[in-house]
Amino acid sequence: MDVEAARMVGAGLAVFALAGVGLGIGLIFSALINAVGRNPAAKEQLFPIGILGFALTEAVALFALLIAFLILFK
């Protein structure tokens, strides 16, 4: 197979991991909204934890994207 073609296929496969990350981020914010809905006074307490969880999950997305870019452009 042509190297360029193999690169494209590899990059496409690498971004499959983002499905899991999308699910994960949805779960985090669903939990956050649920919690704030039950107890609106806890919003300032819970929001930083939610943002921290979001950023940690996003990091995994970016690990996958990093591999995809490395495959595509190196």
């Binding site: 921290l52 950023a55 940690l56 990091a59 994207l65």
Partner: protein, 240 residues
């Protein structure tokens, strides 16, 4: 048309070599100096002629100080107070790096893996050294979670060690990949805008929204780097 990764190239501005080691002043170094100067001007200018009832500038400086102080004290409690200057410097350095990169035609020094790895190793190294200094060899009890049954230890301890050693790596890659991916996306959509002519309006709108999102990510990533360093510091100081 440049490829999207051309913007991350480091150029020498003043070549300077000392005993075979290349110490030239690069565009990355220029933006680091600029970031530090901006932060210094902002902080020092705000508390010049400080008043009991702050004006806007002093209020801004106090807001940042208070926010970081709350973050540090919420995570590390009383024992973490001496490390506040380090945390504030780390936060402002990463924040300035991320935000300066949002200026068009500038260089994001936090999108260089070596820069973020240096910062992450410094934070991780500091936490490890503090752990050994305060607890001696008892610091290794960090790898044995409380309440774990003794027969599971041969499985849990290697996993815990690996997860501990992956902390600087994940810190570095999180910041680096966020910055690099964001700026690469911006460059790709900008390329589309140019090549599509009149229909370039659509990628332009996407680029506008993406720029707003990237500014949010810049602030968020600085906050996440700082709060993770605070959490590692808490592990070092209190041994769960």
């Amino acid at each position: 048309m440049h490829d999207p990764l051309h913007q991350f190239e480091v150029h020498r501005l003043f070549s300077f070599s000392l005993g075979g080691v290349d110490l030239s002043f690069t565009n990355s170094a220029l933006y680091m100096v600029l970031g530090v100067l901006l932060a210094a001007v902002f902080l020092l200018g705000g508390v010049r002629r400080a008043q009991t009832i702050p004006g806007r500038w002093q209020g801004g400086v106090e807001m940042i100080y208070d926010y970081l102080s709350t973050v540090l004290e919420g995570t590390t409690g009383f024992k973490g107070r001496p490390y506040f200057p380090f945390i504030m410097t780390l936060f402002l350095f990463v924040l300035m790096g991320n935000l300066l990169g949002m200026v068009p035609y500038s260089f994001t020094f936090t999108s260089q893996i070596i820069v973020t790895f240096g910062l992450a190793m410094m934070a991780f190294g500091l936490c490890t050294l503090i752990g050994f200094w305060k607890h001696g060899f008892h610091y290794f009890s960090l790898f044995v979670p409380q309440g774990a049954p003794i027969y599971m230890l041969p499985l849990i301890v290697p996993i815990e060690i690996l997860s501990y050693l992956s902390r600087p790596v994940s810190l570095a890659i999180r910041l680096f990949a966020n910055m690099m991916a964001g700026h690469t996306m911006l460059k790709v959509f900008a390329g589309f805008t140019v090549t599509l002519g009149i229909y370039g309006l659509a990628p332009l709108c996407v680029n506008t929204i993406l720029t707003a999102f990237e500014i949010l990510v810049a602030l968020l990533q600085a906050y996440v780097f700082t709060i993770l360093t605070c959490i590692y510091l808490r592990d070092a100081l209190y041994l769960h």
